[in-house]
Symmetry: C2
DNA sequence: CGATTCATGTGCATTATTTCACAATATTAG
DNA sequence: CTAATATTGTGAAATAATGCACATGAATCG
């Protein structure tokens, strides 16, 4: 193994980032890419690209560049996106539906195998993707039965912590939380929070500075 | 003005983050909170909270803490979320619909005043929130007429760059892009990208390390 | 086959961010 | 009024992340 002992977190995020243009480049164009080109496509520094990749091995050829096909394979191996993952989702409002129906997820191997809601009017409804909405009390049973590894939360904030506990109790190993609240998990379960409004707040902060002619970034 | 010259970007993101529990604390409970308590609720270091706030002024009282009501007001002033912002959205698939119908946005003053799509079958359809889906060719006209400041992109990847250009040409000052591609904007228009899959890829990277018993990450 | 060009991998300097630790100030108790 | 306690604001240390600059090895040209 290479020097995988102290890998910056931003590096992991960028790896995912790099893979996007690489996928596009697979279809046509030259089979090799330089760190400079790839960096340009992702809006980062070329040295950054090289350093990020070098944490995991020597994937390039000096004087030449990186073989796109191989590089993508390596990145997918590193990120563990070269296999399929089974997910479930809790909270079948508009956002929940948009996620289970999302083609990008399916394409990348993230398979939703169960959908839950607490609203009795929704339970039993069949979704276009083929899933049937199940009641929340079936979470434990289905997580075990279907070997679900990741839980996605798209409930209102007030339900998010409760659902987190049900999911982690049931044996889910990771949670992606879209409710605008920081949920707590036991050691055995890792969590990522996604909060759209935070991104908007970031934008409007910077917008406001622009309007006022301040120069901070 | 205080030392607003060199504010770390993570600070801005955390300010938004801090405001979440503060809003909840407004309704009941003591009127004052310490940096330690707030830090606990947000999972950060107390010194971090104090330093973040100190960039913008002295909002606390030594030996006492921060008046929740005042602090929230200050944060909202800083982030410019104490006013309303007018947004439009392009790409009315499931995700687009879930965003315009989202109550959190409305509650926080982000008002969607126009929705666009290129699919003729969708144009003219009325949404539960009251908006009617307009054709993309009306973007320029409506951005001007309605004074739209922020554009949200929920189209497929292949359309995202084109739509970005239409929006920034039309005079939109900021773009929130949900398509999994890095869009480029002219200087006059700032952009934030949100890519759900990146978060998932982060999770599975760490999951895989756990499974394999490695200790990085 | 030597010279030139290209582009990687990486040590090191630089820059950015976080955390510590403590003086300063308010409150409470005696 | 003094001592004890709580908690902020902040300089300085520690940690993390980025970017430069160059030695290194591959490819190409004459």
């Amino acid at each position: 193994m290479t020097k995988e002992s102290k890998i910056p977190n931003p590096t992991i995020e960028r790896l995912a980032f790099y893979s996007r243009p690489l996928e596009a480049l697979l279809k046509g164009g030259p089979p090799v890419i330089s760190s400079e080109k790839l960096a340009g496509l992702c809006g980062v520094n070329p040295a950054q690209v090289r350093k990020d990749l070098a944490y995991f091995g020597e994937f390039g050829v000096r004087g030449v560049g990186y073989e796109i096909r191989d590089l993508l394979k390596e990145i997918k191996g590193i990120l563990a996106t070269d296999r399929e993952w089974t997910l479930c989702i809790v909270g079948m409002g508009n956002l929940g539906i948009s996620l289970v129906e999302n083609e990008n997820f399916k394409k990348r191997g993230y398979l939703f195998v169960a959908a839950f809601d607490s609203d009795t009017r929704k339970i039993g409804r069949q979704l276009p993707c083929g899933l049937t909405i199940e009641p929340e009390r079936k979470i434990r049973e289905l997580v075990r039965e279907l070997g679900i590894e990741i839980g996605v939360i798209t409930t209102p904030s007030r339900a998010a912590q409760r659902v987190t506990e049900i999911l982690s109790d049931a044996g889910v190993k990771a949670i992606l939380n879209f409710a605008p609240i920081q949920v707590r998990t036991p050691e055995s379960c890792i969590v990522e929070n996604v909060d759209f409004s935070v991104k908007l707040e970031n934008l409007v902060y910077h917008l406001e500075r622009l309007y006022k002619g301040k120069k901070n970034g």
